[in-house]
């Protein structure tokens, strides 16, 4: 909001320079964001908070200045000639809920022309377009003292009547901006005997507006219900200076003054006469109840004992009236000025005291506390996984929470997605049901910019089921390019399925479980046979693998990319693996190699399980050392070299027992159809 500091001089004799004034206003609650221009055309760009409609005008800011600097405030008393006759006009407020007060005045026989130099300069300095002397007068009064007014061409109002009511079904109104609007029965309107002539508190009607031909003018200043104005303003997408103020609350007591001030300006610029006294209909009074203020409460909240004297002084400077109450504790009954609609409670007065006392005058203390810091249940697991991913070389990333309908459908197992009512774009209209679309987007972003080796992870929530939305935490990792970059020391090696698998295994290794199974049956966006679903004790906790090339190419990716998604809600059902010390082996281990040919259908998991079923307690590990296909190995078969390592905690192993276990292993492998190689 723009305020001209020069204009403030109409009401208060300021002695400070503009930068100082801006600082002082900011520190007491009317924030000056910047100072633009020089001299008389200096403008303060101000950020007046929604609770202070009283300060959204020059008189209001001047009132604040008078409180800050203890300067007298010159209020404006319109200088009006005596009114002649009686206006032959009536006002009927049919909707007291929507309109608490409606004040009108009639100016007869005036000439509408160009505004005076002062008005023109001031309005243009604030960036307003000049319309005509009558419309400008109404506008000027709004910026001067804050109360929105409207001026009608009296001769275009039918039936010499104003009715404040709700619109009727089917009624329309062409507003001043030239738009024909279908009115809702919820819209509060100003109507004449026949038709709506203004959308109350928002904008006047086009057909009754002031033109160069206008001779007789009806001035309106009313007190409309903030919610009614806000709803109409929203319904019609019309945010105006008037609606901005009515929504936040206009001063019930200032309607007559506003009317008179507009009348004064009209008479001054275009002549004419004032017809009758103000027509002032009060349908309900908006009286603010007095508030009790305890000095002890001021101290309890602010931590600083403000003396009764200072309390009285500050509040009186702001226009409050205080009545001391008898009693043990100092206490006041405080009467609220009509323009301070935001002050209704004791705490509101405490705030007034704090800001005028000066926030910078309060000491800084740190409160003592005896409670304990409580950890979130998953915090330790989150930290472990994050640290691990970082040390595995994955960069932490954050992608959009929103995806397109297409991506949502492609990457979700569920049909129940959560859509936004007012999305920014179609591409961002659904809450992500998976972190993978975001990951693909980030991988594509990198590849498009020539970043060929990329490792990223994102920890974030995914969303499903709009009835009772579920937020589930996941970690997604994505990788493309080289696992090892080429150098003088080693050739490059591209990232493979087993790199990702190794990383997933490392992450899962933090958790306690009995059995981990890698299932072929991964989601369709993974390449077949290049991806796995990880099942921990019967529950899928992750999926990972190479992204199907058709899916990748939809994200304009033409390289092999590897992605994994870990379902933390399920994984975190498992506790973290406990760390226990085991004595280091004191006796040497013994290795034995077994070279076998198997059918392709025999997986390593099958082999590994059949060996572990032998329950050889000294068997420490069984690892595949070499796999070979082709050559002398028949199609559909593969050759594998397995290495078993035996070790006992109690003794050096004897040759015979190692031979016996080896024979058992050979039997088990043969039972799987394996042929031992010669």
């Amino acid at each position: 909001m723009k305020i001209s500091p020069q204009w403030l001089h109409d009401f208060v004799a300021l002695e400070v320079d503009y930068p100082q004034l801006a600082d002082d206003l900011t520190l007491t609650g009317l924030a000056v964001e910047s100072i633009v221009g020089e001299g008389d055309s200096t403008v303060f760009e101000m950020e007046i908070t929604t609770n202070r409609p009283d300060a959204m005008n020059h008189f209001g800011v001047a009132r604040e200045c008078s409180a800050i600097y203890r300067l007298p405030l010159r209020s404006h008393e319109p200088d009006l000639p005596p009114a002649s006759n009686k206006a032959n006009f009536s006002i009927d407020v049919e909707d007291p809920a929507g309109c608490a007060r409606y004040t009108a005045r009639v100016v007869h026989g005036t000439t509408v022309g160009v505004s005076s130099q002062l008005i023109a300069t001031r309005l243009t300095t604030l960036g307003h377009r000049l319309i005509n002397s009558a419309a400008d007068a109404s506008n000027y009064v709004l910026w001067e003292m804050g109360h929105p007014t409207h001026v009608f061409d009296l001769d275009l109002l039918e039936g010499s009547k104003i009715i404040v009511r709700r619109a009727r079904v089917g009624e329309t109104l062409k507003t001043l901006d030239g738009v024909d609007r279908k009115l809702s029965p919820h819209d509060l309107v100003i109507a004449d005997a026949a038709k709506p002539v203004a959308l109350a508190g928002v904008m006047g009607g086009f057909d009754t507006m002031i033109t160069a031909k206008t001779k007789n003018i009806l001035i309106e200043a009313a007190s409309f219900d903030p919610v009614a104005v806000r709803n109409s303003s929203k319904r019609h997408g019309l945010h105006t200076d008037a609606s901005h103020r009515f929504e936040r609350g206009a001063d019930f007591e200032s309607t007559v003054l506003a009317c008179n001030r507009v009348a004064e300006l009209l008479l001054k610029s275009g002549g004419g006469e004032l017809l009758g006294h103000p027509l002032d209909v009060i349908s309900r009074r908006l009286d603010q109840a007095p508030v009790a203020l305890r000095v002890s409460e001021v101290r309890r909240i602010l931590g600083v004992p403000l003396e009764s004297g200072e309390i009285t002084d500050i509040l009186q400077r702001l226009g409050f009236e205080l009545m001391p109450e008898p009693g043990e504790e100092p206490e006041f009954t405080v009467h609220i000025p009509s323009w301070r609609l935001d002050v209704e409670r004791e705490i509101d007065l405490v705030e007034e005291l704090a800001r005028l006392h000066g926030y910078d005058k309060f000491p800084k203390t740190i409160p003592a506390y005896s409670g304990a810091v409580i950890e979130q249940p998953g915090a330790e697991k989150d930290r472990k996984l994050r640290t691990c991913l970082l040390s595995l070389g994955y960069n932490e990333a954050i992608s959009s929470t929103f995806v397109s309908h297409q991506d949502a459908a492609d990457f979700s197992e569920s049909s129940s997605l959560i859509e936004l009512a007012n999305p920014l774009t179609e591409n961002a209209s659904v809450m992500r049901p998976s972190l993978i679309p975001g990951m693909l987007g980030m991988l594509a972003h990198n590849l498009n910019r020539g970043n060929e080796n990329v490792r990223l992870f994102e920890a974030g929530n995914v969303f499903e089921d709009s009835e009772s939305p579920e937020q589930k935490k996941r970690i997604c990792l994505g990788a493309t390019g080289s696992a090892v970059s080429s150098s003088v020391n080693q050739p490059a090696r591209p990232i493979s399925f087993f790199d990702i698998k190794g990383d997933i295994e490392t992450l899962l290794d933090y958790f306690k479980y009995d059995k981990l199974h890698y299932d072929q049956d991964a989601s369709g966006y993974y390449a077949y046979g290049r991806a796995a679903k990880v099942v921990m004790d019967g529950v899928p906790v992750a999926q990972f693998g190479q992204i199907d090339s058709a899916v990748a190419s939809r994200s304009k990716i033409r390289r092999d990319i590897f992605v994994g998604e870990i379902y933390l809600d399920r994984l975190y059902e498992h506790s973290v693996r406990e760390i226990r010390y085991r004595p280091l082996p004191r006796f040497p281990s013994v290795e034995r190699d077994f070279s076998f040919i198997f059918d392709d259908s025999v997986t390593f998991e099958t082999i590994s399980e059949s060996i572990s079923n032998l329950q050889l307690s000294e068997l420490q590990s069984l690892v595949p050392v070499e796999i070979f296909r082709g050559g002398s190995v028949a199609t559909g078969k593969y050759s594998i070299l397995l290495r078993a390592r035996f070790q006992s905690v109690a003794r050096t192993l004897r040759e015979e027992e190692v031979a016996r276990w080896s024979a058992e292993i050979i039997d088990a492998l043969q039972a799987l159809g394996g042929k031992q190689r010669a």
Partner: protein, 392 residues
Amino acid sequence: MPKEKASSYSVPKLGTFTGPTLDKAVAKLLAAVDAESKHLSQEREWKDFRDRWLSRNNGLLAQVNELWLKAAPKESKREVGQRVNELKKKVDYQIEDIRSRLVSRPSTGEEAGKSESDREMSKPAPDSRALDITLPGIERPLGAEHPVIKTMNEIVSVFRGLGYSVEEGPEIETDYYNFEALNFPPNHPARDTQDTLFIADQDHKPPRERLLLRTHTSPVQIRAMGKTKPPLRIVCPGKVHRNDAPDATHSPIFHQVEGLAVDTNITFSDLKGTLDYAMKTLFGSSVKTRFYPSFFPFTEPSADVQISCIFCNGAGRRDGAACRNCKASGWIELLGCGMVDPNVYSFVDYDATKVSGFAFGMGVERIAILKYGVGDIQMFFQGDVRFLQQFA
């Protein structure tokens, strides 16, 4: 038999017992152990080998005892003793190691051969040439923390140090938690400042149950107070969303850290002291804070907090020109805060006459932008590794 060759080592008598002489002798002996072990292929051979070296009777190490230690003059005994002990340990270990290699080596032929020879082959030939140590090392790249999350964690840890527990809450919230219980009445213009993203198809629900994306992490405060009686100290980090079209300074996604302290004796001075301490911890002890009135529906009195500009040290000018970071004002606005509005307590069943408290909130991206000088908020959400790696 390689035995003749292997047995060629015998323990020499030492003429002098100086350090260099001893070192030389020790190295020779160890080399001999190594050389002899190479010719062993069977356990039986190993046993002979072991006896030759370790036999108490006249094993080579026993000879070392006689010829080196006992023969040494008094003044050298200590030094010689140390070396002999070390030597014994080494030989013991090496001989046991050779055995385990022998035992694990398949001895029965069938599974033999291939793997073993492979292992032998894969051993690189020892290279005694001096390395070009100026060649780049083999890096194992580390991932980088995201600057926003790193900053968020730093903020949280400052408050953890002051006794605040971390609380989290859902990103999809109800109107009740995001607005109503925070004293934003229905139809209040203060809601307009929040640019809310709403979930579709909510019209059939009562207004307070309608879903939206939380516009701030303040609903977590309501949830926390709803389940915990005072005293309470929490800090709520998290992601929030607003209907803001993305550009260099706006993002529909951003992060906040909010905090709340409620107790029987919390004052406005406590709020000032706590945030002043936090800002000094985050930005350096020379940073000053400035509080001035503001408005938030859920706090009263409310305040905005500025810190003295960390680029120009609050001078407003830097390198002879107006400081761009603080627009020459010397101050940077960083967070909003205030004393919890008593209306909020009524939603969570706290007795506003008995307890008081303060709440504060700050945008994490804004702080990260300041700390690292990032020019475009969108960089945070693109996953560009050239950007992210700068924070490693």
